[in-house]
Amino acid sequence: MDFHFNEAEKKFRAEVEEFILEEMLPGYADKDLYWPGGYGAIGEFEVRDPAVEKLREKMGERGWLTMAWPKEYGGGGRSFVEQAIFFELLSYYGMPGMDVSTLISGPTILRFGSEELKSEWIPRIVKGNLKFWLAYSEPNAGSDLAAIQARADIDGDDLIVNGQKIWGSGAHVADCGWMVARTDMAAPPYKGTSLFIVDNKSPGITMRPIVNINGFHSFNEVFFDNVRVPKKNVVGDMNMGFYYLMVALDFERLVISMGGFRRRFEDLLNYTRNTRRNGKLLSEDARVRAKLAQLATEIEIAFLLYYKTAWMMDNNLFPNIEASEIKLVTTLLSRKLADAGMEIMGQQAQLWPGSRHAPLSGRFAVGYLDSISAVIGAGTSEIQRNILAQRGLGLKRK
């Protein structure tokens, strides 16, 4: 065993850190209220910022946005541990980076897409200026994704898409939907669903904003009314969409803002070292110390699970259990960190960003509300526990 980064990993870490410190957009990290684990305060899901686009292009030039892809497709041929390092540092410094297109769509196209599909989409994804949104959930298909009702009927060289999607984060600022719809209504859902790319500008698409708990427009309700999608946009084979979706879950495993947890925890530590209450520093209060020690321990476990998952992927081991564990652990941590932080900061913690009295810029207040979403999005904690029990431990469904 060796829990330290090796020389190459250390070198890469230093290179990324140097890049970040050099290229960091002025004021971006202060303005961005992203809470680790949350879905409701991600800047990139709200507006399309040209400065961010440019920064992503720079990362794309270095091959970083697609660093764990094979080299022949413009990837960096790097390890998942290195990708984990990159993601850790980006989230630590509050920098935008990889997204749906580089983490989910790209790898899925590479694995299952036709050569035509690859040559059309992959170069744009590698460059870092093509944004996808996930058109998965529907009003009646959340945790039970197999219940989707959106349909795509073949009409010559096109699909005609009808139905409704919801919770598509940042759909309004994206270029294309990464969509699943029923293509064989007679077959069971997992044998009659297809995965395809739909251009946001297609006639017949209307979007209705959904404002989240924090007051931000990140979600959307999206309606498809006889939307024409060229059949060549179908990823892989028709009716195999569910299978591709399951495999794509593997690509999402490392989308965890580990650095974000560390950064917010450090903010909290510094706050307790510099804030007096009842004549003594908060950091001297036994209850505060116990809370911080507990958080530090849980963050350490999350880090270990994170790098263990990456390391297993590099070594062709299948981190099925670990991937669900890290989702469970970090999303709960998202809540615990916000909750413990608010308890420690007391009365002032309820102040919203913008108030001059708000401790730590009011981030914890936003985070407290945002952390509600952590254990719900991308597979609720209950779904994760089902996966752990059924796939991990072999318990039966019925």
Binding site: L269, R289, A290, A296, T297, L304, N386, L388, A389, K398
Partner: protein, 377 residues
């Protein structure tokens, strides 16, 4: 990074699992738990034959030249089988103390016999208040010519009832700083004035009361520097804490495995109870706790093995694992229902070990305070 076990560790794990499932069945565990000595000479001899007692010690003393991390791999498996006996006391507590502070002659005389399995030893540290703080050491060793005279009482001394020798932490100087003035001595259990009484405990591990009444110790049996014992004890407590974590991780893994296989077999309402989400989610929480505890324990052991500062890692591991094993054992009990609440069932063996393990070498609160201090608070 390399987050896997190496080849030898994988082999050790596999062979330990096979050996223990054959040689240490639950029937033997129960006999030893319920009996007075807690020791099976036969099992001890076989374990010694596999070189386990010398696993982390240098070859020149008859050891295997392994690391603390290697030992952790073994203890994980021993915890899985809840192997009773003085292995932990002899190897972790006494062995590492001798290794760290003993003279060459002491290592030849004692450590070599630990490695060969000929000698059982333990560490007599805690006293009436049961804490792991230097101020609680009140047993006194008074210099008298070429000897020391030992007086006092120790509580919660593991396996003193079967030990040949004790390592005793005693006060040799009193002053303002309680951490100064503690020394460690080798004491023959058969010495006049040593009285060992096994304590009846929830864990049924053989913790003892040891009373010293004017016990004479030749000064050559001082281990390490006079008055310089506490830094050694601190180092041993670190190793003991992480070693105990490894045992607990193994015990938690066993509790999980037992509960999962029961959930697959036990039928209620016409289906295996494992098909109910409530039970599935218990199992999911358990496996998450088991894996989290294992990762943080191995990281801590690796850090200590590498000779890096490890107070933070070890205290995180002990704070976490102490509570995680309890959570896992309680959920396992919930899955077993009434049958788990009986002496016939094995679950209580683990539930007891979870509590005993939590208490040993600092509980969660004790270690969280160290974590806070290590964070610079």
């Amino acid at each position: 990074m390399d987050l896997g076990l190496n080849e030898e560790q994988e082999m050790l794990k596999k062979s330990a699992k096979e050996f223990l499932s054959k040689e240490c069945p639950k029937k033997l565990v129960r006999e030893l738990d319920e009996g007075d000595s807690g020791l099976s000479r036969d099992l001890w001899k076989k374990m010694a034959g596999l070189g386990w007692m010398g696993l982390p010690f240098p070859e020149k003393f008859g050891g295997n030249g392994g690391t603390l991390l290697d030992l952790i791999v073994l203890l994980d498996e021993m915890g899985y089988n809840i192997v009773p006996g003085p292995f932990f006391a002899t190897v972790v507590l006494a062995g590492f103390t001798l290794m760290e502070a003993g003279s060459e002659e002491q290592k030849q005389a004692y450590l070599a016999k630990i490695c060969s399995g000929e000698m059982i030893m333990t560490l007599a540290l805690t006293e009436l208040d049961g804490t792991y703080l230097p101020e609680s050491v009140e047993t006194v060793a008074e210099a008298k010519g070429d000897q020391y005279i030992l007086n006092g009482a120790k509580l919660f001394v593991p396996d003193a009832n079967v030990a040949d020798f004790l390592l005793v932490a005693a006060r040799t100087k009193s002053g303002a700083d309680p951490a100064e003035g503690i020394s460690i001595f080798i004491v023959d259990v058969k010495s006049r004035g040593v009285k060992v009484t096994p304590l009846k405990t929830l864990g049924r591990d053989k913790l003892c009361e040891v009373v010293f009444d004017n016990v004479t110790i030749p000064s050559k049996d001082l281990v390490g520097k006079l008055n310089g014992g506490w830094p050694v004890i601190k180092s041993i407590l670190r190793k003991a804490a992480v070693a105990k974590c490894a045992e607990m991780v193994g015990g938690a893994q066993a509790s999980l495995d037992m509960a999962v296989s029961y959930a697959k077999e036990r039928v209620q309402f016409g289906r295996p109870i494992g098909a109910f989400q409530a039970i599935q989610h218990y199992c999911a929480n358990m496996v998450t706790d088991v894996d989290g505890s294992r990762f943080i324990t191995y990281k801590a052991a690796w850090t200590e093995s590498e000779g890096l500062p490890s107070d933070l890692e070890i205290s995180m591991a002990k704070a976490w694992t102490s509570e995680a094993f309890k959570r896992v054992a309680v959920l396992a009990h919930q899955i077993f229902g009434a049958i788990g609440f009986t002496m016939d069932h094995d679950m209580h063996l683990y539930f007891r070990r979870a509590k005993a393990g939590e208490i040993a070498y600092g509980d969660a609160d004790f270690h969280r305070e160290i974590v806070a201090a290590q964070l610079g608070l």
